[in-house]
């Protein structure tokens, strides 16, 4: 419990990471929503981009930043500095610290997403996720899969300095495949097929679907769950404490 409190405090003291994971997604939503006229206009489907696409993409941005950049950087730093090793000399195993980090990053992702829901509603009158139970399920499943991927990155990074670099190399393609820059609807078929299996793609789509009130597609859930199993298994096998 003390570990959770203290690590949360340390996380909050690291204000640049808070800025990138909570401030940036909300800021982009507001700035882009107000400055690009097309975003608040009705599409053929009758939806506006600020209704579901923009806020769910920004939630994905926050979660990708947390899982591929913040989490691996912290864990690789703790490993390199010997924080994990020092903890293994006490009766408390360093896996507790790992668990606490996962929890904190998940919590920051949830706060960021909640803030996006509220701000999209206040600024643009966008409705909150209509399929809220499905939305929460998709959020938890997808976040878990991405965090597991983050742990694989932390395991593969040879030192603390290289972790953010490797993280970015994974994060930017996933942002692209997740449809943050080019919506999945207008992707060429081949690209969309790749996106369909990229974990980030089906995760983004399922967030968007449940936000709009549709049930998530089974195939999307299966791909995300498979990602969780594969990355989780790899993380368990590869993670090094020292």
């Amino acid at each position: 419990m003390k570990l959770l409190l203290l690590e949360t405090k340390l996380h909050l003291r690291d204000w640049p990471s808070m800025l990138f994971t909570i401030g940036l997604p909300v800021g982009l939503l507001v700035v882009l929503g107000f400055s690009i006229p097309g975003f608040t206009e009705q599409q053929e489907s009758g939806e506006r981009i600020v209704d579901t696409h923009m806020p769910s993409s920004m939630a994905l941005l926050a979660l990708l930043t947390l899982s591929c950049s913040v989490l691996p950087a912290v864990m690789a730093t703790y490993r390199q500095q010997g924080v994990l090793r020092r903890m293994s000399t006490t009766p408390v195993h360093p896996s507790r610290l790992l668990g606490v980090q996962l929890l904190i990053n998940l919590a920051v992702g949830a706060v960021s997403t909640a803030l996006l829901i509220v701000v999209a509603w206040l600024a643009f009158g966008s409705a909150p996720p209509r399929q809220w139970a499905g939305f929460v399920l998709v959020f938890l499943l997808g976040s878990a899969a991405l965090m597991a991927l983050g742990l694989v990155i932390a395991a593969l990074a040879p030192n603390a300095k290289s972790a953010p670099g490797i993280g970015s190399a994974v994060m930017f393609p996933l942002m692209f495949l997740g449809g943050i820059w080019v919506p999945r609807e207008i992707m060429p078929d081949a690209l969309r097929t790749v996106s369909d299996y990229s974990v980030a793609g089906p995760f983004a789509q399922a967030l968007k679907d449940t936000w709009a009130g549709h049930p998530p597609q089974l195939m999307h859930l299966v791909v995300v769950a498979a990602g969780l199993v594969i990355f989780g298994g790899l993380a368990v096998r590869l993670f090094r404490w020292e």
Binding site: K9, R13, T89, P91
Partner: protein, 301 residues
Amino acid sequence: MKMIEVRNLRKQYPNHLAVEDVSFEVAEGEIFGILGPNGAGKTTTVECVAGLRKHDGGTVRVAGLDPRAQRDELREVLGMQLQSAELPEKIKVWEAMDLYASFYPDPANWQELLERVGLAGKHDTLFKNLSGGQRQRLSVALALVGRPRVAVLDELTTGLDPQARRDTWALVEQVRDSGVTIVLVTHFMEEAERLCDRLALIDAGKVVATDTPAGLIAQVGGDQRLRFRPTAPVADDVLLALPEVREVSRNGDQIVVTGTGNLAPAVTLALADRQIVPTDLRIEQATLDDAFLALTGRKLS
């Protein structure tokens, strides 16, 4: 009572044999030193003792516990200060102490502990703003917060300036006086000589010798060397006639006398009989460095 017993310890890494055959015993309340050059297997040895690594051969007992099978019990008996382990940059001194105290069932009063290591005034300082010596003292405090019976201190003073090193030595002696058995890993001869009750010299994964610092030096012969400039000429024979003197050599007007026992008083007395004063007198005694050199054929540092 034996606090630590290590017999024929062996640890093989994928590409090299770190510890080939190490045995030693540490009595309760001792400061036991493990001295050797870098890469001799010192750290691997104590990591096996502390249960951080699994050894491949031999037996290890700490307060009767097997570090491999009884890791959890061992953690409550043994505190360890690791070589170059840091803390998160933005953790405050009191937060680290409070956190580590919460890991143990019956922790020490950490405010008192901070005072003992001289960090009471750094209560709210961030870890990254501590000096090297302060970090090491915090490390010692963290190793002691679980009220261990054994504390393993690995390369405690490496990288510290001479003043910080002396302060840290005083702290180690104070910790021992509080009843904690200490295993001190070091490659500083001076540190081992000053602090350790007994020590094991380790080279290339093997114990070369185990004894008190004075005993180790005596093992290699305990030769002493006297250098001085006499105020009047002295014949070699005058000095060689003394039973303590083995060899006399000259270096310009400087005389170098090598021998054993009460060499210095014997030589100065013989000179005084002839109204000669040895000026610029210097006495050189064998050190642990010499002992190590004699035992392994290699220099310690």
